[in-house]
């Protein structure tokens, strides 16, 4: 796979530059890694709070119930795709799990399989990104970032639906 070259090439370039500029690469690596360790302390509480609300949302069936309201809205779009779209901004693992399920049951190269791939690639997990980044610096008043993040997710997902219907059906 070509994509497997990305990381070695990246790190290779960085190390070659470091050698040319006579940087103490080993010490820098140790120093950077040590800084990374403090992340656990900063992020764990915020992640736990997020995990609780998202897991409850999933096991209570509330999110699926909301997704089922949408099913049938667009003829070609399977109910599982609606669930995936709803999960996408809140839980990367849940939407990934639904995508894999779609690959297995409806086929990876089917209309639904392609739509699922495009949706998964269209945006990142907004709630996770906000929890991680704001959690790491202790910001609690997040202003309108969540709302704008969700608007942007909506735009990405709407574009994903539109493109799949236009080019793959």
């Amino acid at each position: 796979m070509l994509t497997n070259y990305v990381l070695p090439v990246f790190i290779g370039i960085i190390l070659v530059v470091a050698l040319i500029k006579r940087v103490d690469a080993y010490s820098s690596f140790i120093k950077g890694t040590k800084e990374g360790l403090s992340l656990f302390h900063e992020v764990f509480p915020a992640m736990m709070a997020m995990m609780l609300s998202i897991n409850l949302l999933r096991v209570s069936g509330l999110l699926e119930a909301i997704a089922s309201l949408f099913s049938g809205l667009l003829a070609n779009v399977d109910a599982s795709l609606w669930a995936m779209m709803l999960f996408r901004p809140f839980s990367g693992t849940a939407s990934l799990a639904i995508m894999i399920d779609i690959f297995k049951t409806l086929g990876v190269d089917s209309f639904s399989g392609i739509m699922a791939s495009i949706i998964q690639g269209s945006t990142d997990t907004t709630l996770y990104v906000i929890t991680l980044y704001f959690g790491s610096v202790g910001v609690k008043k997040i202003r309108n970032s969540m709302f704008i993040g969700l608007i942007s997710d909506l735009a990405g997902i709407a574009m994903a639906i539109f493109l799949t219907i236009t080019f793959f059906s």
């Binding site: 994509t3 990305v6 990246f10 370039i13 530059v17 500029k21 940087v23 690469a25 820098s28 690596f29 950077g32 800084e35 990374g36 360790l37 656990f40 764990f44 736990m48 709070a49 995990m51 609780l52 609300s53 897991n55 409850l56 949302l57 096991v59 209570s60 901004p89 894999i100 990876v108 190269d109 392609i114 791939s117 998964q120 690639g121 269209s122 945006t123 907004t126 990104v129 906000i130 980044y133 704001f134 790491s136 910001v139 609690k140 997040i142 202003r143 309108n144 970032s145 969540m146 704008i148 993040g149 608007i151 942007s152 735009a155 990405g156 574009m159 994903a160 493109l163 799949t164 080019f167």
Partner: protein, 190 residues
């Protein structure tokens, strides 16, 4: 955040009780600590590794180089911190690494970028304009090579694992553009 969080939890409680799923709910509450630990530990470990790599890149001047490449765009995007070259460098690196689909490598630079923004923050528990813009950019997640999805498609026997990519790129670009436009109109009105 408080309202959002409490509403999610209370809404789930109410619906779960109506559906008779109280066992599942109770089980989720008991196991959430362990599950968070299992989720956060590998994430922190990978982030530590890439933090080390990023530190080498910074010392070697690679981050400063990326900052110079994207400078006009960054100064337009984040006018409040346009003189903080170090932070802008991390923002630049974060955007570029994300494009290659290396989310786990993009995280440590993103965290350094937001820590840099926090230095200029007069009200440390409230997000600044730059932070909101930067996060909107990250939640949109502009990825040109969605490596993990390609790998999954191959694993499930796709005959054409990569043809979705241009469409995913258009979708992710429109997500980020809409997000940035809304942010610009809403937060930079004055």
């Amino acid at each position: 955040m408080t309202k959002f969080w409490c509403t999610l939890i209370l809404g789930s409680f109410a619906y779960g009780l109506m559906q008779g799923r109280v066992d599942l709910i109770s089980n989720t509450i008991v196991t959430v600590g362990e599950e968070t630990l299992e989720f956060v530990l590998p994430m922190v470990a990978v982030t530590c590794f890439f933090s080390g790599i990023v530190e080498i890149a910074k010392e070697g001047g690679c981050i400063a180089f990326l900052e110079r490449c994207l400078s006009p765009f960054l100064r337009f995007l984040l006018p409040d911190i346009k003189d903080d070259h170090e932070t802008l460098g991390y923002v630049a690196a974060n955007i570029i690494i994300n494009m290659f689909g290396l989310g786990s490598a993009a995280t440590p630079v993103g965290l350094k970028a937001i820590a840099g923004m926090q230095k200029h923050n007069p009200e440390p528990n409230r997000a600044t304009r730059s932070m909101v813009t930067f996060l909107v950019l990250n939640t949109g997640g502009v990825t040109l090579f969605p490596t993990s999805i390609i790998a999954l498609r191959v694993a499930y026997g796709s005959l054409d694992a990569t043809s979705f990519i241009p469409f995913a790129v258009i979708a992710t670009l429109s997500a980020s553009c809409i997000g940035l436009i809304v942010d610009r109109l809403w937060n930079h009105a004055h």
